[in-house]
């Protein structure tokens, strides 16, 4: 089974040289720590920045330099800054190659719910609806089950949706799965030490297991 860092490490293997990538808040943010050496990946922050650098050294924080999670950051040689309309323009126009975000639920047809629990939590969707509506390459990073032990990979989402038919791949502490265009979660890899039965038990939606399922390397 993977911890959060492990999920981030596995997702980092999906990166390719030259990719422009948008990382959501939470586990996706950790992916930035595992960009392979020698690979050029430019991170997009939807408030209006290409080229997010590491956190500043203590004492060097600049209130005018933050990421979409409102954290103080630095910029890198080659970074560019722009307004929020242009930021979502490049997202809508599919210039961003890969979007990695968290979710509360994903359905077997690729719907995602991530922004609201009616009556309990009202935070808003931020940029998530824009990202999932336009991105062609969306990976969800999340836990396989919620805190109550219920599966987050469902036949149909129960929470208000963020977007429909959009999630392509899911990486959890148990597995890597693809959402098939015809519906269903196709099991690609098992996390170290995790059995197919464990994954079956944690997946409420249609799970497709064909042939040998390799253990992932992280």
């Amino acid at each position: 089974m993977l911890d959060k860092e492990g999920i981030a490490k596995r997702i980092a293997k999906e990166l390719k040289d030259g990719y422009y990538v948008n990382l959501g808040i939470g586990i996706p943010t950790l992916v930035a720590n595992y960009i392979p050496d020698g690979m050029d990946v430019v991170l997009q922050s939807e408030n209006g920045l290409l080229g997010i650098g590491p956190f500043p050294f203590e004492g060097d924080e600049d209130p005018d330099m933050i990421n979409a999670g409102k954290q103080t950051i630095t910029i890198l040689p080659g970074s560019a800054i722009f307004d929020s309309a242009m930021s979502f323009g490049m997202i809508r126009a599919k210039k961003v190659n890969l979007t990695i975000l968290g979710a509360m639920e994903v359905s077997e047809n690729g719907d995602i719910a991530s922004w609201k629990i009616p009556g309990k939590m009202v935070k808003g969707m931020g940029g998530a609806m824009d990202l999932v509506a336009s991105a062609e390459n969306i990976i969800v990073a999340m836990q396989h089950v919620n805190k109550a032990g219920e599966s987050k990979l469902l036949p149909k989402c129960t929470l208000p949706l963020t977007g429909i038919n959009c999630v392509k791949r899911i990486v959890t502490e148990l597995a890597v799965l693809d959402v098939l265009p015809e519906g269903g979660f196709k099991l690609l890899e098992r996390a170290p030490g995790v059995s197919i039965d464990q994954i079956k038990n944690a997946t409420a939606g249609k799970l497709i297991v064909k042939g040998e399922i390799p253990e992932m390397t992280v």
Binding site: S45, E46, N47, G48, L49, P54, F55, P56, F57, E58, G59, D60, E61, D62, P63, D64, M65, I66, N67, G69, K70, Q71, T72, I73, I75, I81, F82, D83, S84, A85, S87, F88, G89, I91, R92, D111, V122, K123, G124, M125, G126, G127, A128, M129, D130, A133, S134, P160, L161, T162, G163, I164, N165
Partner: protein
């Protein structure tokens, strides 16, 4: 032409109860701090505020929420403000949550003189309820209307007395598109300079969009999430 006003109180002098305001900033970054303080002092009520976030409990638009000056917020993310959540869940505050890109682009449309935009954000979700859907090249898009705001209030780093503006780093965020969208645009700047001192090639907001400008003071520039690494 005289766009320069002496301070925030003079800049917001004719903002009245019930008006719709755009307020620049992302989180607490690039916020028109001086103007918000002046609106709190003025005590105008029943405002509709278009702003990506709602500040925190004791800073930014949170200060106006605390004084019950806001009737309705139009935002994309409001997770940082407990007082906001309380007023929302108790029904005291009306809230319209919209996707961040839709928010930015509805401002942009207003500034570019276009009545509406088509965007895929929100298709198949409750954001699409009651809105016109148009299929273009096999994909569905929502019709979203340009914003109409009596005033846009923005914060820039430098501005000249004609109203040209330059922003600093990610404090740019929503400020340029809101500056273009207000019927009357108020800009507060950290440094007010004479025409000619800003390189015309580096101006982010041309003066035509700005009606009032003043040099703010005592900027707090609060940091919401201080994240650092060890030396």
């Amino acid at each position: 032409m005289n766009k320069v006003v002496s301070n925030a109180d003079e800049a917001v002098r004719d903002i009245q109860d019930g008006m719709t305001l755009m307020l620049g900033g992302f989180g607490l970054c690039g916020l028109p701090e001086n103007s918000i303080a002046a609106l709190v002092r003025k005590g105008v009520k029943n405002l509709t505020c278009i702003s990506n976030n709602a500040g925190v409990d004791d800073f930014g638009i949170g200060l106006m929420l605390k004084q019950r000056q806001v009737k309705k917020m139009i935002s994309s993310y409001v997770g940082e403000n407990a007082e906001f959540e309380r007023q929302l869940l108790s029904g005291e505050l009306e809230v319209e949550l919209i996707p961040q890109g839709t928010l930015a682009t509805r401002c942009m449309a207003a500034g570019y003189g276009m009545p509406a935009i088509f965007t895929p954000a929100g298709i198949g979700t409750e954001v699409a309820d009651g809105k016109e859907v148009r299929n273009c090249n096999g994909k569905d898009y929502l019709l979203e209307m340009a914003f109409e705001a009596g005033f846009a209030i923005v914060k820039a780093w430098k501005g000249d007395t004609m109203g040209n503006l330059v922003y600093r780093y990610t404090a740019r965020n929503f400020n340029p598109v809101m500056a273009m969208a207000g019927k009357i645009t108020i800009a507060e700047v950290e440094e007010l300079v004479q025409p000619g001192e800003l390189d015309p090639d580096h101006i982010h907001t041309p003066s035509i969009y700005v009606h009032r400008i003043f040099q703010g003071k005592d900027y707090e520039k609060r940091i919401e999430q201080r994240t650092v690494r060890k030396k």
